[in-house]
Symmetry: C2
Subunit: 252 residues, 2 copies
């Protein structure tokens, strides 16, 4: 069986890693639209058109499923991606993020804040507030925080650099000062690369990422993935601009 994993850049590799672990023996095709990264600072119409255009290169590859491992594209371009690949079941990471957050909230009911850390485009779309608020109840508030410089910093490979820590501090300080610790969702697949830095900046908060939730979603929808055997999983790498991919990606 063959699963496609799509992201604007290298963030989706955090999801790919979770999928490889859960489904050994499955073939993966990873596509990073590195020619157009970052998506998260672009406008909705631009994101829709870039995402549809990029995933077209999956068409000849006969995928059994496509994971849109990019919150920005999942928030804004899921319909366009489905229209481009009408025969492929498509799974977005937003649905998985919502599920992971609700699971975390059931275990941490005292949490009064769910902080959505995301690109500007995802935060502006308001999709997480819309999907989470009805299930969380009136005493828990969903707060969306755009963190536009984190993707460029991560794509530079500065995963434990003062610049990274200063940027994170900038984005989360007002929340950590004003609110009791709650749940913070890494609503951008780049951010698990810097999960430790978020843990440092948000002491006492539960930091949730959606990589395992995506894998669980896939397993429910396509149980045959678990029967693909235990052979070494094979990954084909596609990048729209291969020359700019940082080396640490392949060491993951």
């Amino acid at each position: 069986m063959k699963i496609g994993v799509f992201d604007s850049g290298i963030g989706g590799v955090t999801v790919l890693t979770a999928l490889r672990k859960r489904f050994p023996g499955v073939e993966f095709v990873y596509l990073g639209d590195t020619a157009n990264v970052p998506y998260g600072t672009k406008s909705p119409s631009q994101i829709k058109s870039l995402a549809a255009n990029a995933v077209a290169s999956f068409a000849p590859r006969q995928l059994d499923a496509l994971v849109v491992a990019c919150n920005t594209a999942s928030s804004l371009a899921l319909d366009e991606i489905m229209a481009t690949l009408p025969k492929v079941p498509v799974f977005g990471v937003v649905e998985a993020g919502v599920r992971a957050t609700l699971d975390a909230h059931r275990a941490f009911t005292a949490a009064k804040t769910v902080l959505i850390l995301a690109t500007r485009a995802t935060a502006r779309s308001g999709i997480y507030s819309r999907l989470l608020t009805p299930s969380l109840g009136a005493t828990t508030q969903v707060v969306e925080q755009a963190c536009p410089l984190l993707v460029p910093i991560i794509e530079e490979g500065l995963l434990d650099h003062p610049l990274l820590h200063l940027a994170i501090h900038e984005y989360v300080l007002r929340h950590s000062e004003d609110r009791a610790p709650g749940i913070a969702l890494l609503a951008c697949t780049h951010y698990p690369w810097i999960k430790k830095a978020f843990e440092r900046a948000l002491p006492g908060w539960q930091i949730v990422d959606s990589a395992n939730a995506v894998a669980a979603l896939l397993e429910e929808a396509l149980p045959q993935l678990k029967q693909a055997g235990n052979g070494p999983s094979k990954t084909e790498w596609l990048f729209t601009d291969p020359d700019v991919v940082p080396k640490f990606v392949f060491e993951a």
Copy 2:
């Protein structure tokens, strides 16, 4: 008369401002390829194709000249831009930057270092070393320093923010510590927006930008521009992704 000014994003506005001042009465068309900013972290082949594609929208506008107000595109895609607009005289900002640097060096002959502050793509191209070294003489060294995070930080509008100062510190510290003050060329048209921050980080250095040198180049090649009158200059703004243009651009 009508002049086109092209940049990947908003950096070229610093050049546009110099041109407007020198040539009142001339019409300007500014094109920012904001759908694809930043260019400077992309690969040469990608930059060539994006730049050629973007400037095609100047074709129906009957320009008298085009200024490529982007060092990355001037370093790597000038031939492709000229091929796209074969009837328009094209002026790149690299030639202007070289001239401004040599002028500065004639006034500051004690300078033993010329520091080229640029995007990664411009720094890697080595174009400034190639063009400057033969004219500077053996006692002055050209050092190219890539500053890949500055364009995203400027496009975020953080023109006097601790993140900006930390990033600049990171990029220039080794030079300011190891070398006597010399000449630093802002070899990216975004950087004049943050000239003060560079002055702070490089005390005693002469900071050169190429905006006025571009205007001088144009005046020599097309003296009729000075005869265009003194009417209020008119600017048409084109952005490939208009929704992401920060407001401070139009206040310049």
